[in-house]
C-alpha cells in the first residue's frame, strides 16, 4: 500500500473512533514508522477489545501496536491538600 492511501485510512479510523457507535475520544492514533500506535485509557476491557477489533478491520494490512489501558476503578489512597 502506498503512504497516501494509508494516511486516509488512518484518518477514517480516527473518525470512526469519534463517531456514534464507538464514541471513544480518548484513544490516540499515531503513525510510528510502518506501524500504527494506539494509546489511551478505556473504562473496561470490553471497550478495549472493541477498539482492537475495529482497528483490525479498518486498518487491515497495516501493523497495529496497541498500548491501551483499562481505567482503575479503585478509590484514591490519599487526598490532595489545597490549603
Amino acid at each position: 500500500m502506498n503512504g497516501g492511501e494509508s494516511e486516509y485510512r488512518i484518518a477514517r479510523f480516527r473518525d470512526r473512533l469519534a463517531r456514534e457507535d464507538v464514541a471513544e475520544l480518548g484513544v490516540r492514533v499515531e503513525v510510528r514508522g510502518e506501524a500504527i500506535l494506539l494509546t489511551g485509557t478505556l473504562p473496561t476491557a470490553g471497550r478495549r477489545d472493541e477498539i482492537l477489533r475495529l482497528a483490525g478491520a479498518e486498518l487491515a494490512g497495516i501493523p497495529v501496536r496497541a498500548d491501551l489501558l483499562v481505567a482503575c476503578a479503585d478509590p484514591p489512597d490519599r487526598p490532595e491538600d489545597l490549603s
Binding site: 456514534e20 464514541a23 471513544e24 475520544l25 480518548g26 490516540r28 489511551g40 485509557t41 473504562p43 473496561t44 470490553g46 471497550r47 489501558l69 481505567a71 482503575c72 476503578a73 479503585d74 478509590p75 484514591p76 490519599r78 487526598p79 490532595e80 491538600d81 489545597l82 490549603s83
Partner: protein, 270 residues
Amino acid sequence: MTSAASPAFSGKWDGSVVRVAAVGDIHLSPDCRGLLRPSFETLPLCADLLLLAGDLTRHGTVPEAQVVAEEVRDLGVPVVAVLGNHDYHSGQEADVTGVLTEAGVTVLEGDHVILPVAGGTVGVAGAKGFCGGFAGRSAGEFGEREMKEFVRAAHRAAEGLHRALTEVSADGCAARIALTHFAPVPDTLAGEPVELYPFLGSYLLAEAIDEAGADLAVHGHAHLGTEHGMTAGGVRVRNVAQPVIGRAFALYHLPLAARTPDAGQTSDRT
C-alpha cells in the same frame, strides 16, 4: 487552619476543610453497570460531596443515564453534576438530566447549589461550558452563520458560569467551586495534541471564574491531559477526567474561608 498531616479516611473530622470528591468522563453504558459503585460506596468515609464533571454516558441515552443513576443513588453524600458533550449526543439531555435528578443528583447548567458541610457552606456553580480555544488562539465571532453560532455558544456557556458563580459569592459560601466539562485553561490539556486545544475548552470560562471568584475549578473532557493547572487569576484548576486521575474519583481538601453574604469580594477583587 488545616494541619499539615491529612487526616486519614476516618470519621473524625475537624471541619476546617471541605472534602471534595470529583470525577468526570466515566462514559458509562449498560456494559459497565456497577463498575464504580464499590468505590463510590466509600465516599461517606472520605468526602463531603461528589462532583461529576460531565461525559457520564457514552452517547447520552436514557438507558445509559440509568446506569449512571444506579452508580450514584443513595450514596450518603450529595452528588452534583454537569453534563458533557457525550451526554448531549442523542439530543436527550433533558431526559438524561431527568433520570439523574430522580436519583438525587443535582444537575447544574448555568446555575448553582449551596451545600451545608461541617464547617460552613459550599457553593458549586456548574455549566457544561464549550470549546472555542484559549486567549490569542481562539475562534472569533465573524463570518459564516455556523462560525458565529459556534462562538456565541462559547459566550453563552461562560455567561451561565459567571452568573452562577456570582450567586455563590453573593451567598457568602466558605468554599466556591466552579464545575464544568470543558476546560477553562490550557494547562490541564498538556498531553493532548496542541491542534485539538480549540476543541477542548475556552478561555472565556477562566475569565468568568476569575471575574466572579472561585476557590477551585474542576473540569473533565481532556482524557489525555493532566490533572493540575491554574487560571491567570490564581484559581486552582483540576482536570478530573477518569483516564487522567486513574482512580474512581480524585479527592481534594479545600479550606473553608470565613465569608459573609454579599462579601465574596472581601479578600480579592473589589
